[in-house]
Symmetry: C2
Subunit: 408 residues, 2 copies
């Protein structure tokens, strides 16, 4: 090589050379959603040691194109193939391989170039990709609840067999994951999942009947996507988290407790056999658990704002109201049943929430529809992926069928 060429190296070039081989290579499934956008902010701040190799979106083609232009990943996937041509048009000038259709997620999950797969796709859609990544031994940063809810047993077993590390991104499970490091897994006596209680925390069984969509979408603490905001208002969110924690931490459901904590500063706690409680605290900001999942097991400086307890003044705690929030006891029941029950719970909820968001049903109908499906379902206690997907599809149809009949 000719001398003198070195002075053409920019800082970015040097970083690329220095970090090139050791950079952590990240794929984000769902980069245009709330978690995905925050993840990109976190990666911006983490610097050149973290490289984005793939991005995906369902139908937000313009934002995906914008992100692709900025981060120049090797792959960009659009799962709704109707938007594939538009995406090709928007980023055709870049050397990015465009993937389209639902299978593109699984394709990304298996890419040799990917070290960490961050999954942030609402609903059951990301499930095959998550399982594929676990089979390839990837590090999985899971931000959506569904993979562990629907296929928790299968996923954890696959991860164990193939040396895949699963790091939760949900603030509660990240808190538990962090707190559990203060003891051995066998020394855990209780997992205490905190929840803000959502916008209807103080509601009665009566006044919960008439809440509006707008009220349900006004979460007091967290700024999240609409589906998760509704799940928080119904406390389906917390029910799903109980199921998720059960599989992720291999803890029986009897040892998992839900605690209402409106300030959302204590993100969850672990009680050990000696009676010691370890808690993780932070501002309600997803950037912290996203970053921890990407840098784990290390911690590095980041963009999350610091908590000042003296300024906050007080933290409050109360028991959840299982009579008003029917989804919570249903969640426990489902976790105890195992098998296909959680897939039904999740799919019935997903479908019902969509109906609610589109103004076709009332808020309280969501839990009612879940209960309706669970009562009608014959749960298989040991379930293959096929069984789970079938139960999922059955529950979706069942919700819509039930609503049609009512309309008649």
């Amino acid at each position: 090589m000719a001398k003198g060429h070195n002075h053409f190296l920019t800082e970015a070039h040097i970083s690329a050379i220095v970090y090139g081989s050791m950079a952590k290579k990240i794929a984000i499934l769902g980069s245009t959603g709330s978690i995905g956008k925050n993840a990109l902010r976190v990666i911006d701040a983490l610097g050149p040691e973290y490289e984005i190799v793939a991005l995906s979106a369902n139908s937000s083609v313009e934002l995906l194109a914008e992100q692709a232009r900025r981060y120049q990943p090797r792959f960009a996937a659009i799962t709704n193939a109707d938007f594939a041509d538009e995406l090709r048009e928007l980023v055709g000038d870049l050397s990015i391989e465009i993937l389209a259709g639902p299978d593109s997620l699984t394709e990304i999950a298996q890419l040799e170039e990917v070290d960490i797969l961050l999954t942030a796709i609402v609903g059951a859609a990301g499930l095959p990709a998550v399982l594929a990544a676990a089979k390839c031994g990837k590090t999985l940063a899971i931000a959506n609840k569904e993979p562990l809810v629907i296929a928790g047993e299968l996923l954890m077993e696959t991860a164990r067999k193939n040396g895949s590390t699963i790091v939760p991104v949900d603030s509660e499970h990240s808190a538990i994951f962090q707190a559990m490091q203060a003891g051995a897994p066998g020394e855990v006596s209780k997992i205490i999942l905190t929840g803000s209680g959502g916008p209807f925390r103080n509601a009665t069984s009566e006044n919960i009947q008439n809440v509006t969509l707008k009220e349900a979408l006004s979460h007091p603490v967290w700024d999240m996507g609409p589906k998760i905001t509704i799940d928080s208002a119904t406390m389906v969110n917390k029910a799903l988290e109980v199921i998720e924690a059960h599989w992720l931490f291999d803890v029986p459901v009897e040892k998992i407790e839900v605690l209402i904590h409106p300030e959302s500063i204590v993100h969850s706690l672990v009680e050990f056999v000696d009676g010691s409680l370890i808690a993780q605290l932070g501002n309600p900001d997803m950037c912290l658990p996203i970053q921890y999942a990407l840098t784990y097991p290390a911690r590095v400086g980041g963009i999350a704002k610091r908590v000042r307890l003296a300024n906050i003044g007080k933290l409050t705690f109360e028991k959840p109201n299982s009579e008003v929030f029917r989804a919570l006891p249903l969640g426990y029941e489902v976790a105890r049943t195992g098998g296909t029950a959680a897939a039904v719970f999740n799919a019935a909820n997903e479908t019902a929430v969509q109906e609610f968001l589109e103004g076709r049903i009332k808020f309280v109908n969501i839990a009612e529809l879940i209960e309706y499906c669970l009562n009608k379902h014959n749960a298989k206690t040991t379930a293959s992926l096929e069984d789970l997907l079938q139960a999922d599809a059955w529950a979706r149809r069942e919700v819509l069928e039930c609503l049609k009949q009512k309309v008649r």
Copy 2:
């Protein structure tokens, strides 16, 4: 051996045979004090895997004799030799070796039979024994603040060189020790020491002037010995803990913060570089940190009562008032100065508290006498054990001298 003898084996015999060689052998320095008594309750509950090989007291000869009769240690030490004959009389019928005088503590610390030395002696008296145990590579469960306050640098260096593990027993430092396991030591950005604020938390600079001994001895949360209760009321306690944390966790004093938390449920917190806060919570009960120090790194079931946050309802936090509690900024100053300054701070306080307990000075005089000594002292920045003990003795004389002059 003749057959048939086996049926004479009691459960205790079997336990002794099973656990005999692997039992953890514990010596308690200060077994008749508040911590010592709790430690014995904890060890009772832990069962035959934990064996008491030595007990010590200063002058509480009757209680020591009672404990010796119950636990049958191989050694019992009375540091005030005036009580040696009485002790011999009281337990002469047992096969216990009686040690007497201040050096008996060092003798116990070096015993080959001792695995864990639990030091719970108020004041500077236990210092040589603690250093001797560190030199022998023992596990040190330190319940009194003075060894780390007076000789923190020396002790940590000695422990490092000789493979001695130091596990704190103080509830705050135990909390920090536990919380630090959720990250690497280099990832700690702040240590947040909580304190109840003591009985005068809401006092003004004016009304603190006239508090009585009885008021100062009425701690709102913790049931402790008189010296530590007064230290809590003056916040000298928190000042000593800042210095202790500085050495124990190798964290600069600028990164140590004091936070008032009247409910004393959050025992302290660690903030990591990413902004994540890890806290340890528990009831205000010394049995939990004592047990953790004895079973570390394992956790086992114990007698500490569980915290129920929903029943507690709220936890509050506020900044400490450094204008009313003068000892707190003095403690930070001392920690920054290093060398002999902390020995002077501690000795001046110990002497002043004794004067206050005996009704000879006012509550506010305690901090005044500490400040007086610190102002008069020429701190050596690098200090040998001899320098430290000299500074300690000097400060004690100085306090008494100052009081004599005032009386004239």
